[in-house]
């Protein structure tokens, strides 16, 4: 796995963001540097938001905070939360799927169609609908701490698609269960639990790993979508002041919040919403690289060319034989007609 370049590249992208996030906070504290305007030759040439330049690679936001700093500070929340949602979802869905596929096989049909109805509810919408009471700040402030809210959000987002993933695994397990080696194990007296642990799980390990990667990617996207709806990871700070209300703000610097609170500036200062979305895209890309690398390490590609060549020579030999036979037959016919 560690020899696959794809896996290593993907892993280093994620590791760079995570490590960078903690190091940044450790060195510069948890507030990014703030510059109100740039001086050039004694005159102010540009005020916040500053467009990207050498000093600020990703520009600065409307209050003069460095975008790159904000993104680095927020990386840990977004990446860790997405990974955690995936882990939790798989931890719940895999055992459930196995139970559904083996012990409760009689009920699998109708449970499948119940879970199937989730396919008609857009995931983002469902997540937004369910998470609003958790994340939207009530009039008199939050009663929960930020870590509690992040925890609750992770748990809820993990639970949302558990039915779909569990049914997927159950169907896969049910397919495998009819294979000969499982039947053989059964005849030898293996119990259901042993079959799950010793036969079904090792057979499906790769599929489960890929499924995990997909869940993480999906979670990144849903975070971004929720950001658009002003529902940020760890809660949305809402100002209820009727006169000078600030727009809804994210409490941490996580990426969804950075995107959600700035996408109105797309035409004026495109780097504000584009930078977080690019970072999210990079995160998703890293996960898909890791998945591809993992798969390649598990089933290395056979040298196709050599096999093809070998096959070709056999075909060629057959053809040669056929031609010879035909010639012989024709010659025989000719001699017979001559007679």
């Amino acid at each position: 796995m560690w020899k696959q370049p794809y896996f290593v590249i993907g892993f280093s992208i994620l590791a760079f963001f995570l490590a960078g996030s903690f190091v940044y906070e450790w060195i510069w504290g948890n507030v990014p540097r703030q510059v109100y305007y740039i001086m050039e030759g004694g005159r102010a040439v540009e005020g916040a938001p500053i467009s990207p330049n050498w000093q600020f690679p990703l520009g600065s936001d409307q209050y003069g905070y460095d975008m790159l700093g904000k993104l680095m500070l927020g990386a840990k929340y977004t990446i860790l939360a997405a990974l955690a949602v995936g882990v939790l979802r798989m931890l719940i869905a895999v055992p459930l799927g196995y139970i559904l596929g083996t012990y409760l096989d009689k009920h699998r049909k109708w449970i499948s169609s119940l879970a199937d109805s989730m396919h008609y509810i857009p995931l983002t919408l469902f997540a937004a609908f369910v998470l609003t009471p958790v994340l939207w700040m009530p009039q008199d402030g939050f009663t929960t701490t930020i870590w509690e809210r992040i925890g609750v959000q992770v748990v809820i987002m993990a639970l949302l698609t558990v039915p779909i993933v569990a049914v997927l695994i159950a169907n896969e397990a049910a397919l495998l269960r009819d294979k000969e080696f499982i039947l053989a194990a059964k005849t030898l007296g293996a119990g259901r639990f042993r079959i799950i642990r010793k036969h079904l799980y090792p057979q499906m390990r790769e599929k489960i790993a890929v499924l995990y990667g997909q869940q993480v990617m999906e979670t990144f996207i849903v975070f971004a979508h929720l950001g658009l709806l002003n529902l940020f990871l760890g809660g949305t700070k809402v100002s209820y002041d009727p006169m000078f209300g600030d727009p809804p703000m994210s409490i941490s610097y996580e990426w969804a919040g950075l995107f959600g609170s700035t996408f109105r500036y797309l035409q004026g200062a495109p780097w504000l919403p584009l930078a977080p979305v690019l970072f999210i895209a990079l995160g998703i890309f890293a996960v898909s690289l890791m998945m591809e690398g993992y798969l390649r390490s598990k089933n290395p590609k056979v040298k196709k060319k050599r096999i093809a060549a070998a096959k070709d020579s056999v075909v060629e030999w057959n053809r040669e034989q056929l031609r010879e036979g035909m010639v012989r037959l024709k010659a025989k016919e000719m001699t017979e007609t001559e007679k």
Partner: protein
Amino acid sequence: MKLILNFFIAVAGIILASSLPLLITGWLVGEWRWRVYFDSIGASLQELWPLGEIAFFNNRIQQFVPLFPNIFEYIIYSLVILFLALLLAVAVSLILTIVTMLLSDRARERVKMALYFLESIPDLLIIMLAQLAVVMFFKQTGVLISKIAAIGDDRIYWLPVLCLAILPTIELYRLAMLTFQEEERQMYVDLARALGFSKVYIVLVHMFRNAVISVFFQSKKTMWFMLSNLFVLELMFNLPGIMLFLSDNMYPLAFLVAVFSFFLPMFFLYSFGEWYFVRRLRGKEAV
């Protein structure tokens, strides 16, 4: 018969989901509010009954307006965009697949890898880049290709449809490639080749028929993502569709109405497709 059963189970699932936020609010303060939950479900169902009497508070004109028939305008607009994008995605991805299948093995593998990584582009990025590109083009040449936001009763079609179609196209393309390649290993393809049919003919006539069925059955997940994307699209373009309507009215009844409005057409589309393809498969077995 099975169809009707499935329909009712799906409806039950959606209704159960519609009041979930109440349960979660209770869970946050550490209690199980089953009674409130079921009361809310009952209340939404009761309100649903005389369909003509449902009224919603419209933020734009600051008064209550009856839901029907006003809602149909929203629903139809959303569905038109969704299905146009779906048609576009299916058509483009199938054409591309057929073209790619005619290429050599190595080229195909490269295309597949590229598609795999292209799939990781978030929809938001595509929408934003499209909007920026339109504005850039307008600034450079003075030609407005398409409006980038709908105001009032505006209807914009082709740019949102294009944005919505890009990701499903990539996804379906990859899916179709995998299915076609799987199909290529079947015996009948070898037979057809041995009989001297050209590659184009085999791909277009023989493999296409069989692979399309498989692609159809796997496309459900793509549709699911498209619904989420539609939601984001309506927000970003400010399209007056059902999703925007729902995000203004986030409570159980509106949720039910909105989800049903695209559940019904999609469910019938998929049930019909399933019925049609299964019948055809059975017919083949009998022959």
